[in-house]
């Protein structure tokens, strides 16, 4: 173990822990107004939308259809209220099929 890498790992460990830690220290003491509660409840939807778009189109940087086909398969099955695991496996299967064909 090189000491430079150890410093890097500890430094990264600290700076990635702090953003996760800070809310956990204070959040319980706060009583939020209803509007702010609603804002917090909308964040999962906007965050997931931003996590998926646009990067899903670059799952395979050489073939945009890998992201589109896999994503569409997952969306269709999720629309039918099938378990998340089914969406994940179907998306993988569709992409694997495209690679094989």
């Amino acid at each position: 173990m090189r000491s430079e890498i150890l410093v890097l790992i500890i430094g990264m460990g600290l700076v990635t822990f702090i953003p996760r830690l800070l809310p956990s220290l204070f959040i319980e003491k706060m009583r939020f107004p209803a509007r702010f509660e609603k804002f917090l409840r909308l964040i999962p939807y906007t965050a997931m939308a931003a996590l998926v778009f646009p990067s899903v189109f670059a799952v395979d940087s050489a073939n945009i259809w890998i992201g589109i086909a896999g994503g569409a398969a997952a969306a269709l099955l999720a629309w039918l209220r099938l378990p998340v695991m089914v969406s994940v496996i179907a998306a993988i299967a569709v992409d694997m099929l495209i690679y094989i064909l």
């Binding site: 990264m12 990635t16 804002f39 939308a49 931003a50 398969a73 993988i92």
Partner: protein, 234 residues
């Protein structure tokens, strides 16, 4: 049922909810370890980083920068900026978790990731206990550690076809969590479409980590004025 038995049940429930994460984290962990190997990291260094940092995007960025000769300060700063989004996600997680002892909150906070946040905040509120969250986190953490270990020991562990096909897994999980809540709520669906467009546009003019933070916050704020989430009509 005793409180202890309840907590055990909640923990296993969390583990079960996190099963899709395995399909996402193991291959990405392998991909990270292969990148780290190519950048000159030993197996021990590669796995230790996964155990102590537990942040895929930051770790891949760091080993990529290291390979190009970047300095320590630059790599640590990049990791900080990439992970700033977790302030937002952690706030949502602990707001939803409700009354929890401080020590347990601190331990749980180390397990906040895009994926554990996404599963937890879309689960039925009654299920959102500390034990449920810890169940989620333990599966996610183990998958990340195992993926890194497999990749570090055998860099060609997955055939190219399999690893390429698994690239969609994390996105499929987010889509699978997101879409059911959009059924029957057109305004929420509209908000998701708007956010996707805003983030795509912002990604052209700033780094993707800042674009994600800005579009998440701005669009959620906008949504307060036109989306109806049902029970909190207040």
């Amino acid at each position: 049922m005793s409180a202890h038995k309840n907590r055990k049940k909640e923990y296993f429930d969390g583990e079960r909810a996190a099963l899709p994460v395995i399909l996402g984290f193991v291959p990405v962990g392998i991909a990270y370890a292969v990148m780290a190997h190519d950048a000159g990291f030993s197996a021990l260094e590669t796995v230790l980083m996964s155990l102590l940092v537990f942040a895929g995007a930051s770790q891949m960025m760091a080993v990529g920068m290291y390979a190009q000769g970047a300095g320590l300060v630059a790599m640590i700063t990049a990791a900080f900026i990439i992970n700033l989004r977790h302030v937002i996600m952690s706030t949502c997680v602990f707001n939803r978790m409700g009354s929890t002892p401080l020590a347990l909150r601190i331990i749980s906070s180390a397990g906040v990731t895009d994926e554990t946040f996404a599963i937890f905040t879309t689960s039925d509120e009654k299920r959102c206990t500390p034990a449920f969250f810890l169940g989620l986190v333990s599966v996610a953490y183990l998958s990340w550690a195992m993926g890194s270990l497999i990749g570090a020991l055998a860099s060609e562990a997955l055939p190219a076809l399999v690893s390429a096909s698994l690239g969609i897994a994390m996105y499929a999980m987010f889509i699978g969590l997101l879409v059911p809540s959009l059924r029957g709520n057109g305004r929420l669906a509209l908000l998701v479409v708007i956010t996707a467009c805003v983030n795509t546009a912002l990604s052209q003019v700033m780094t993707s980590s800042w674009a994600l933070i800005v579009s998440t916050l701005v669009c959620a704020f906008a949504g307060v004025f036109f989306v109806d989430l049902g029970e909190d009509a207040a």
